[in-house]
Amino acid sequence: MNKIYPSAAAALADVVKDGQTIAVGGFGLSGIPEALIEALRDSGVKNLTCVSNNAGVDGFGLGLLLATRQIKKMISSYVGENKEFERQYLAGELELEFTPQGTLAERMRAGGAGIPGFYTKTGVGTLVAEGKEVKEFDGETFILERGIVADLAIVKAWKADPFGNLVYRKTARNFNPMAATAGRVTVAEVEAIVEPGTLDPDCIHTPSVYVQRLFEGAFEKRIEQRTVRKREAA
């Protein structure tokens, strides 16, 4: 069974449909599936619900799909870096479901793990708790949050083997492992597909069962906040 595709467009060709819920890996612009987002844009697919911690920036990442109005709804924890997002949201053209970052990660993890809901203390006593079931455990109050299962997940990894075992690099891991488990179909965009047997089986982050398709991408890897310190003068 070949999971390797020649390009993002080929990997998405017959799995993308209007109105789908798509889980997207990445934190800010780090570890985002750059080519898959571009391929989604080029596919012209519409009315998407994107589950992603952030919404990219103008002209990069999910900002590309916002510019073309292909996103109907975002489920995110923080969307502050995107002017077009703000414009569409204030104009009532875009739905937004704010979810605390840890709750969002756990909702994807739970969805992928067959857990339809879980109780958390995050958000108790806040707007996030409105309309949600409340339950006491050992004298403390918790709210019920729902697991998320997505029609499609698009993730970015550092290395993969041809079977779809994935390894991420540093903080580019972030939401990618949970997004990979939450997709009914998961497509992985990786920096390198390596020979079978060269990834240490003890160090696989996402086992191959979660990944249906993969391809090698070419990444821009844009940095949002370049911060440096001065070298000490010699």
Partner: protein, 211 residues
């Protein structure tokens, strides 16, 4: 006369203890790391890193290595990386010793508001609600009054909450307040900045506190 941001950070650093695992919020709280001295502190970044190092030298920036503020950082010998779910498991699960955050308002009952102003574009709560819900001890650093001169330590928060009954210590540019528990004990004034009188502080504070 009041404390500078750096002096506030130095004061906040006195809340650190040797061996602590700490999450520092974006903005002023990041300054606290400069004042840790010889304490063995492990910084957590909620995007998936324990043992966060300083900013990289120019030319060493790595787009795969950023903090929760999306700034480029470096790793240390103790560093570990993990997923966002694991990151918030350690936060929500009560494994983090301390978090230092900024605030728009803190109420006398420990309620915290720091994510949303109704009528203004909301950027989102990010990980703040998870951090205040799960971290063992929450220290807030904020200006004592807002730009219009109104108190930020208030009787009741007027802004939407980030967490209810979650704040343990408040460090402002004028004073430090602390409460011993989250079971109804009031905040107590524990320090005044140089030149700030008890009367002046009371006049600039909306909350009731023990002096």
């Amino acid at each position: 006369m009041a404390w500078t941001r750096d002096e506030m950070a130095a004061r906040a650093a006195r809340e650190l203890k040797d061996g602590y695992y700490v999450n520092l919020g974006i903005g002023m709280p990041t300054l606290v790391a400069n004042h840790a001295g010889d304490l063995d502190i492990t910084l957590q970044s909620e995007n998936g890193m324990l043992g966060m190092g300083p900013f990289p030298y120019e030319g060493d920036e790595d787009p795969d290595l950023i903090n929760a503020g999306k700034q480029t950082v470096t790793e240390l010998r103790r560093t570990s990386y993990f997923s966002s779910a694991d990151s918030f498991a350690m936060i929500r699960g009560g494994h983090m010793d301390l978090s230092i955050l900024g605030a728009m308002e803190v109420a006398e009952n420990g309620d915290l508001a720091n994510w949303m102003v109704p009528g203004k574009m909301v950027k989102g709560m990010g990980g703040a609600m998870d951090l205040v819900a799960g971290t063992r001890r929450i220290v807030v650093m904020m200006e004592h009054v807002d730009k219009a001169g109104r108190p930020k330590f208030v009787a009741r928060c007027s802004l939407p909450l980030t967490g209810a009954n979650v704040v343990d210590v408040i460090i402002t540019d004028r004073a430090v307040f602390e409460r011993p528990d989250r079971k109804g004990s009031p905040f107590r004034l524990v320090e005044l900045a140089p030149g700030v009188t008890a009367d002046a502080l009371r006049a600039a504070t909306g909350a009731a506190y023990v002096e």
